[in-house]
Symmetry: C2
Subunit: 201 residues, 2 copies
């Protein structure tokens, strides 16, 4: 690939990103206005001024639009994992302190777009099939954390438990913070404070 | 209702229980033999020597048979909740010690029928739709625990967190114990020891 092709690629990427964002914003506005079930892919495409075929180049179905920020969360998590200390974390309290940092990185990412988060939270709470998918997604994050910890020398039983406890802090924050992303970030931090406060020796 | 009607009722109840058990045992044996997807309701009914209509008097569908022990778990949980101390639990470590007892009551109930649990565990692990339902069920137990704690004077934020941490200990045990119900009971106890050990002041 020659240097000249880069700007062209970049422009295409930018256009792709903008189209993707327009689809998501349009869909979320329609979901809020008329409810998830009532909105069709055709309506989203029409309002976003794209063709139906274009929609399906970006998203497999309407449900996938709801989970469009998954890549951003994974990116935030992976970036935070990259800053992990070199020495292995063996003690549960130590491991939890490290896990806290990773969870807050994801919650901080979510709080960057509070309007989007508020709609996401409402959609997930109102639709069992979306809640199932949200739950599977959070389980996947816990798996990633568990693998990250065992990969860094944490004993398996401690890594499994720490990953689940971190998920528990997030679930508590999800319940207590409601659709307010900033409150969720604060509650996640408070949950870890409560847990680590109780764990302080 | 006269006293005379009781023996008749009791006999009917016993027959119902036995039929229900036969359906579950037959279905679980067939699931193990040929896999959940390949087994039909008609086959279960035929092998259990009942009619298709009778099957549907006991279970809404094939999936419901997998979750047939839910009532036993709820009964074990409710019974253990009845033994709760009168004074309110405010401190997280205290609340966790009480929650531990409730979780172990459910795990002990599961360990009463290890063969059934082993098949249940395999089915849930192999079928995403069963795993979703299992997850919803465990979330429901966490909700019950949260309500129990707030009803007994635990501050809401502590109750929410304690319920999720208890669920986390169960999830860790589920992962570490595999399809061995006795191992799950032990791992649940160990997870709480690790958590409460770290929380011991």
């Amino acid at each position: 690939m020659s240097a000249n092709t880069f700007p062209v690629e970049s422009l295409r990427d930018r256009k792709r990103r903008q189209t993707r964002e327009r689809i998501v914003e349009t869909a979320f506005a329609l979901f809020m206005e008329r409810g998830f079930d009532a909105v069709t892919v055709d309506e989203i495409a029409e309002q976003a001024e794209i063709g139906r075929t274009t929609f399906f180049r970006y998203f497999g179905d309407k449900q996938e639009v709801v989970f469009s920020t998954e890549d951003d969360f994974l990116h935030a998590l992976t970036a935070a994992m990259g800053d992990a200390p070199a020495e292995p974390l063996r003690d549960l309290a130590q491991v939890l302190a490290a896990s806290r940092r990773l969870l807050l990185a994801i919650c901080t990412e979510a709080a960057r777009n509070p309007g989007h988060y508020a709609v996401y939270h409402r959609l997930v709470r109102q639709h069992p099939e979306l809640e199932d998918r949200h739950t599977r997604k959070t389980r996947h994050y816990a798996d990633l954390l568990e693998n990250h910890l065992t990969g860094h020398g944490t004993p398996p039983a401690t890594a499994v438990l720490a990953a689940q406890l971190t998920l528990a802090c997030y679930q508590a924050a999800w319940r207590l913070g409601g659709h307010d992303a900033t409150a969720v970030l604060r509650e996640a931090s408070d949950a870890f404070d409560l847990l680590l406060g109780a764990t302080a020796v």
